[in-house]
Amino acid sequence: MSMTPLLHVKDLHCSFKVSSGMIHPVRGVSFDLHRGETLALVGESGCGKTTLARCILGLQKATSGSIQLEGNEMAGLDRMQLRKFRPRVQCVFQDPFSSLNPRKRVEVLLREPLDVHHVGPKEERLRAVHEMMEKVGLPSEWGRRFPHEFSGGQRQRIGIARALMLRPDLLICDEPVSALDVSVQAQIINLLDELQRDLGVSYLFISHDLTLVETFADRVAMMFKGEIVESGPAREVWRNPQSDFTRRMIDAIPVPDVTRAAPPAFRPDAAPQDKTMTES
C-alpha cells in the first residue's frame, strides 16, 4: 500500500527496570495499521503485548525504534509534546472495575475528555455526552449514576464511550472483553464492530483469545517473547499457521464444537508436549 498507514511501528524496543532486574518485554516489533482496520495483537501472558500498547499510548517510554501516527513521530516525545496527539489515540482497558473513577458520575466521566481539550462550547458538551451514551447503548438518563451502579458490561460501554468522546482515529483495546461473560462479550464485540463502521475508527485489539480475534479482526499479529512471530489476515493465520508458536496455541484451543475432535493438546493419549514452553 502506498498510503501512509495510520500507525506505523518500526523496530520498537522497550526495556525497563523492575525490582528483580532489567526486563526487555518488547524486542524489535514492527507493524502497520491502516485506517478503519482492526489489527489484533495476540499472545500469552508476559509476551509483551501490554507493554507494546503502553509504549504506543506514551505510558511507557520506548527504548528505541519509531512510532508514527500518520507520519508524525511519537516515540521519544515527553508528555507535554504528546498532548496534541492525545485526542487521536485513545484506549479501553481490560478491567471494567478499575478503569472508571469511582467517585465521578458517568456524565462527568464522559465530559472530562471534552473539558481537557476544550472541545466545543461548555453547554453543548453535555449534549454530546448524552448522544454518545445512546450510541453505546446506555440510556442517557443514567448519566447521573456512579460507576458502581453498573454491571461489568455496562461499565465497559462507559469506558468505550469515554474513549470515543474525542473521536479518535485509533482505539487501543487492551483485552476489553476478557473480564466479561460470554453473552456480554458478544454485545461489546458487536458494539465495537458497529462503532467502527459508524465512525471509521481503527482498532489495535490486544487479546489472548485467538478464536475471538479470528471472528473480529482483519489482521492478526502473533506475539511471542517480545517479538511478532507471525502476522496476516485473521482467518489465514487460523487456518494455516506458519509459526511454531501459533501452531502450538491453536492445538491447545478448545473450540466449542463437539463434532470436531478434541484439540491435540487435550488428549491424554497424545504424545506429551514440551511442557516448558510457557512454564519456566
Binding site: V184, P254, F266, K275
Partner: protein
C-alpha cells in the same frame, strides 16, 4: 469398588441457598445434579448464575452471610455435614479435592509447596515422616512437574501459574479423593497451560476413576472434557444433558444463546452482527421474580413464562426447565443452530 452402584457418588438435590437471615433473598433456587465415579460433570454459566455458590456448598465453604436453606448434599449416600466445619475438614481433601481459579490463593506464600502438600497428607493419613515425604514427591511427579525434589523446596512465588495449579491439584489428590471440584481451574492460565492442566485432570480420572465437577464459563473447555453438562442461570439449573447432545441439540433458549454468543472460528457473519448476543444483563441474584429468570432476556418468552418458574422436564438424559423448549425450531427453519 462396589459393582453396579445404583446410587450416584455425589448427589445434590434441590439445593437452596439464601442470604443468612433473609430466606427470601435466594441465591440458589433448587439445584439438582449428580455425578458418578469416573465421570466429569460440567456446571456452566455466567457470573452470578450460582455455579460457584453450588461448588462452595458442596465443600461446606459457603461465605459468611450466606446459608443453606434447603435440599440435600449426599456423598456416597451420606449427607454432607456442611455446617459442621470440623467434620467437613476431614471430608475435604480426604474425600473431596478442590482446585480453584487462583492457585496463589490456595497456597501459603511463606512455606515451601512440598511442606504444604505434606501438611494435607499429615492431616488425613497416618504416615511416617519419610513415607509422607515420598508421597509428596510421587504426587508432584504424578501431576507432571519436572524435578519434584526441587519443586517441593520452592516457595509459591518462584513457580509459574501452571506449576502452581499443578501443585494445587497434587494437594487435591493427596488423599485419593473420590470427587474433585474444579472451580474455573484454568481461567487464570494461558491456553497452552490450560490444555496441559485439563489433560492432566483427564489422565488422573482415567487412572483413579475420580469424579470431576468442572465449574466453568468456557464452553470450549466443556465440549472437550465433560461427559455431561448442567447449564445454570439465575440460581437455577436450566438444562442438563450429555455434552454432545447439549451442543448439538440445545433445548433451552439460554443454552442456545450461550452457544451462539461464543466466538467460533470459521463461522460466517450472520445478519450484520459478528456474534449473536443475548440482549440485556443478568438479573440481580436476589431479585424476586415470579417466573422464569431468563424471560426478560428471552426472545421466545410468552405470558406463561412470567407467571411461575418452569419445572424441569424431559427424559432422564436431557432435562430442560423451559415452557417452550426449542421454540426457535418452529419459528424459523432457515436459521438452524450451528
Amino acid at each position: 469398588m462396589a459393582e453396579a452402584n445404583p446410587q450416584p457418588l455425589l448427589a445434590v438435590e434441590n439445593l437452596e441457598v439464601a442470604v443468612a437471615g433473609h430466606p427470601e433473598a435466594r441465591i440458589l433456587r433448587g439445584v439438582t445434579f449428580a455425578v458418578n465415579r469416573g465421570e466429569t460433570l460440567a456446571i456452566v454459566g455466567e457470573s452470578g448464575c450460582g455455579k460457584s455458590m453450588t461448588s462452595l456448598s458442596v465443600m461446606g465453604l459457603l461465605p459468611a452471610g450466606v446459608e443453606k436453606t434447603g435440599g440435600s448434599l449426599r456423598l456416597d449416600g451420606t449427607e454432607l455435614p456442611i455446617t459442621d466445619n470440623r467434620k467437613m475438614r476431614k471430608i475435604r481433601a480426604a474425600r473431596i479435592g478442590m482446585v480453584f481459579q487462583e492457585p496463589m490463593a490456595a497456597l501459603n506464600p511463606v512455606f515451601p509447596v512440598g511442606k504444604q502438600v505434606a501438611e494435607v497428607i499429615g492431616e488425613h493419613m497416618s504416615l511416617s515422616r519419610s513415607a509422607a515425604r515420598a508421597r509428596v514427591l510421587s504426587l508432584l511427579d504424578q501431576v507432571g512437574l519436572p524435578d519434584p525434589e526441587r519443586i517441593a523446596k520452592s516457595y509459591p512465588h518462584r513457580l509459574s501459574g501452571g506449576q502452581l495449579q499443578r501443585v494445587v491439584i497434587a494437594m487435591a489428590l493427596a488423599c485419593d479423593p473420590e470427587v474433585i471440584i474444579a472451580d474455573e481451574p484454568t481461567t487464570a492460565l494461558d491456553v497452552t497451560v490450560q490444555a496441559q492442566i485439563m489433560r492432566l485432570l483427564k489422565q488422573l480420572q482415567i487412572d483413579t476413576q475420580v469424579a470431576i465437577v468442572l465449574v466453568t464459563h468456557n464452553l470450549g473447555l466443556v465440549a472437550h472434557t465433560a461427559d455431561r453438562v448442567a447449564v445454570m442461570y439465575g440460581g437455577r439449573k436450566v438444562e442438563e444433558a450429555p455434552t454432545r447432545e447439549l451442543f448439538l441439540n440445545p433445548q433451552h433458549p439460554y443454552t442456545r444463546g450461550l452457544l451462539d454468543a461464543t466466538p467460533h472460528p470459521d463461522r460466517q457473519r450472520r445478519g450484520g452482527k459478528l456474534l449473536n448476543e443475548i440482549p440485556g444483563t443478568v438479573p440481580s441474584i436476589t431479585d424476586p421474580m415470579p417466573g422464569c429468570r431468563f424471560a426478560p432476556r428471552c426472545a421466545f418468552a410468552q405470558a406463561d413464562c412470567q407467571a411461575a418458574p418452569p419445572p424441569e422436564e424431559g427424559p432422564a438424559g436431557h432435562r430442560v426447565a423451559c415452557y417452550h423448549p426449542a421454540a426457535w425450531a418452529a419459528q424459523d427453519k432457515t436459521e438452524a443452530p450451528q
